[in-house]
Symmetry: none
Subunit: 185 residues, 2 copies
């Protein structure tokens, strides 16, 4: 799984790549991560073997998960057999989902605006294995999550959870709506 790669150069490349993606300078990143510029400079140049704490603080400052800094960008071959495409859930009386952009065969992500009215909660079956839901509440209040782990959200709140286990949505106020990003791996 993680055998062959000596992660020294991988980390160096990942650090520079992610930093430039965020669009900040080396000095600025060092500042946010609480490190010396010299340390970060050596890391990005491939010299040195950072401690976990050091690399962790960089991951936090960059807003990326730890693994993105150590694992090489894995070009991953993936097959979706015919008939296994994501199925849209049928509409419920108090639930509307508007498909904004559907994932093509290559980019499997769907973006919805979801409108809900208070009342009966919407039970969602498990989707495809590996699917992940991201939700940002735009207005109203929403109770959502996997069974027995529901959370209550207000405007601006964000939540993510696996889509491949049973979960449900329930609006707590009229006019509740949210942006839903469905990822299918």
């Amino acid at each position: 799984m993680s055998q062959p790669a000596p992660p020294l150069a991988t980390i160096a490349a990942a650090l520079r790549r992610e930093r430039e993606r965020v669009g900040i300078s080396l000095a600025e990143l060092a500042r946010r991560a609480g490190l010396a510029k010299s340390t970060l400079s050596q890391l990005e140049s491939g010299t040195g073997n950072p401690s976990v704490e050091t690399l962790w603080s960089l991951g936090v400052a960059l807003g990326v998960p730890f693994s993105r800094l150590v694992e090489p960008p894995a070009p991953l071959i993936r097959v979706v057999r015919a008939g296994q495409g994501p199925r849209l859930q049928s509409d419920h009386a108090d639930f509307f989902a508007t498909l904004l952009t559907a994932g093509s065969a290559h980019t499997r992500r769907d973006l919805y605006v979801m409108e809900l009215e208070p009342g009966a909660s919407r039970e969602a079956d498990a989707h495809l294995p590996g699917s992940i839901e991201h939700l940002v509440v735009a207005a109203g209040r929403l109770r959502v999550g996997p069974r027995h782990e529901e959370v209550e959200l207000g405007p601006g709140d964000y939540v993510t959870f696996p889509g491949d286990i049973a979960h449900h949505y329930q609006a707590l106020e009229p006019g509740t709506w949210a942006v839903l990003l469905m990822e299918h791996r």
Copy 2:
């Protein structure tokens, strides 16, 4: 994803857990990983902050991916409350973007909550070639789009446009915010 946890204790627990899962002694694991027993002993006791190389060799010897040693057992659901999460500053003081979830190494897909105040428009440089922006306005009014093709959006409105050409955002009302999905490649 990787925010709050100081991974010292997490690593200690993960090492002991994985080692006992394999069913080998501390000395044996140190032998396979090419480390000194003392080093591993201190790591499992929570003392010390291993280098990436050290932890990597342990992951190889244990036959587990690197991330299993540093990330706590993944919670099913994760919430970022409004106004929390890492904020990306911009060249203008009236623009904030909060990174909600960063795409994995191969799925470059970042989800933001973007807050804007009226006034000077934010000029966005072209991003990586092939990137696409999706935007859903949650509150306020927003003028956005590529140069000379701007559109005006209200709550619930959705727009998508290429991110690899120059474009800009401009809030028309106070308290304007939107959900931004950035796709790369």
